[in-house]
Symmetry: C2
Subunit: 149 residues, 2 copies
DNA sequence: GCTAAGTATATGAGAGTTCAACTAAAATGG
DNA sequence: CCATTTTAGTTGAACTCTCATATACTTAGC
């Protein structure tokens, strides 16, 4: 009944798990060490920094930062404590709220970005040939398009 | 100074993050829902099940299950509470200890495996062409060989 | 309009992870 | 040998994540 993985598939799967975990751990450690934040927080700041007025509705932000709403809510609470983000109510829909990046938050992001990009290159881009990078792009796009709601 | 990512690289990077996260979340949800354990626990059980006598030193187990020692220690404590794993001291090195999969643990693993493999296929293997799968295998192996200690 | 259903967000508890510190036992090396 | 350093493993605290639930508002249906 079950279509088990053959040896090749097993190896691919385990390499996939190992590789993606290694990349994610490298990212998280670098950001935690040099910027005092986890990667998920960094993604939230990035998303906000790219929005008009550096401000966005919470649900929109959750989507862009690839976060669940609950996770985002907790995270923004912490970011607010640090003064990096501020929440404001939404006028047109009184259930909603906006999260806005503060100047301090933008500064923290700007300070973190170079080290982060370095790490991204070190742990992924520099490891692959240009051809492999192209292949990876297509593979990830395919997965994303299939799995994303 | 900083070599920022160009637009193509940005897109690749974000697709990579999204895709790997989607796969990991799918795995974790499936296992949590149908087997009551996170994927990290599953990996521990798998590693043990493949060892001689279904038993292994903690450090070896940490390496095989891609876990930090601390994480493993906590996890095995929980697995012990469930009766899925048992710890025994090591004779030849009295600092060390073995973790052994119990029959109940093996049964839990056997019960979880089919649904898990299904999910692996659904969220990754079935999405890709055979060619892409080969490419992914090489990419992941390259990353692993570079980043792994 | 008024009720029912749906949406946007928050919140609390429980569980897992990390990091730094700690214990204990081996290996190293004068 | 004895002192130092390394290794194996555990532990507790702080933090993040998930899941279920709660709240407040909005939209639909009648």
């Amino acid at each position: 009944m079950t279509r088990w993985l053959d040896d090749d598939e097993q190896r691919t799967w385990r390499d996939f798990l190992a590789a993606t975990q290694l990349v994610n751990e490298a990212l998280d450690r670098q950001l935690q060490r040099e910027a005092g934040m986890p990667h998920t927080y960094y993604m939230i700041l990035v998303a906000l920094s790219e929005a008009p007025e550096r401000s966005m509705r919470m649900s929109e932000l959750a989507a862009r930062a690839q976060s669940s709403q609950s996770r985002l809510s907790h995270a923004v609470a912490r970011l607010e404590e640090r003064g990096w983000v501020r929440r404001r109510p939404c006028d047109s829909d009184r259930r909603g709220s906006f999260a806005a990046l503060t100047d301090e938050g933008f500064a923290a992001l700007a300070a973190a970005a170079p080290g982060h990009v370095e790490e991204v290159r070190r742990s992924l881009f520099d490891v692959l040939t240009p051809e492999q990078l192209g292949q990876l792009a297509e593979i990830c796009a395919a997965v994303r398009n299939t799995l994303e709601p």
